[in-house]
């Protein structure tokens, strides 16, 4: 079971780059790492997914070191609307959905 650990909260200011790290020491070979964003009273929304090295899309980058025991979500130039809870999900959703664990989430607060 790939237990995940994230910081409980982070503060930032508009325009800054934010990096949120998730530790997952027991990650298995077939596990992928996925990050979700959740606003109050809404379901989580997919941000990015990766297996190793670096992945970039239009909203974020995901850095995964060679040992895959951690991953870092990077949000460039955050705005007030990026204030939300960010979850990392580690697992193989087909073979072991029940063991694919969401972290406890990191509450990001972006200040003006």
């Amino acid at each position: 079971l790939a237990k995940t650990t994230q910081p409980i909260s982070m503060d930032s200011y508009e325009g800054q780059e934010v990096n949120i790290t998730c530790s997952h020491n027991n990650i298995a070979t077939n596990d992928y790492i996925t990050w979700y964003q959740q606003f109050p009273s809404q379901g989580p929304r997919f941000i990015i997914q990766g297996y190793k090295t670096k992945v970039t899309n239009e909203v974020a980058s995901l850095f995964i070191p060679a040992d895959r025991k951690s991953s870092t979500l990077s949000l460039p130039r955050v705005s007030l609307s990026d204030t939300a809870v960010y979850y990392c999900l580690v697992g193989d959703m087909a073979a072991n959905a029940g063991k694919s664990t969401f972290g406890d989430g990191t509450t990001l607060t972006v200040k003006p």
Partner: protein, 115 residues
């Protein structure tokens, strides 16, 4: 609809009553997941469906909880003899193929309050 639809959005019930929560996934999505989120907490896995079968029910907290999926589409989560500790938001998600990768699309959840 375009997204995952859940109903009811809010449900208040009395302890001991049964409740049914419904999830209508995105059309064509074969994989469906139920999660529970207590106030201020992370997501707790309940059950996973691939088509109509449930290869992973490991997260159901007790035998009061059951779920089914019919026609590879709509799913119903049933909680019998509700307890106050069942109060939470129940989230449903679907994905296209249920593979190791792939994006989960979540509904907005059903908020259950047991008095």
């Amino acid at each position: 609809g375009a997204g995952v639809s859940q109903s009811p959005s809010n449900k208040v019930t009395e302890k001991g009553k049964d409740v049914e929560l419904r999830c209508d996934p995105i059309s064509g999505h074969t994989a469906l997941y139920w999660y529970r989120q207590s106030l201020g907490q992370g997501l707790e896995f309940l059950i996973y469906f691939q088509g109509n079968s449930a290869p992973d029910k490991s997260g159901l907290p007790s035998d009061r909880f059951s779920a089914e999926r019919t026609g590879g589409s709509v799913s119903t989560l049933t909680i019998q003899r509700t307890q106050q500790e069942d109060s939470a938001v129940y989230l449903c998600a679907s994905s296209l193929a249920g593979g190791s990768t792939g994006e989960l699309f979540f509904g907005e959840g059903s908020r259950l309050t047991v008095l």
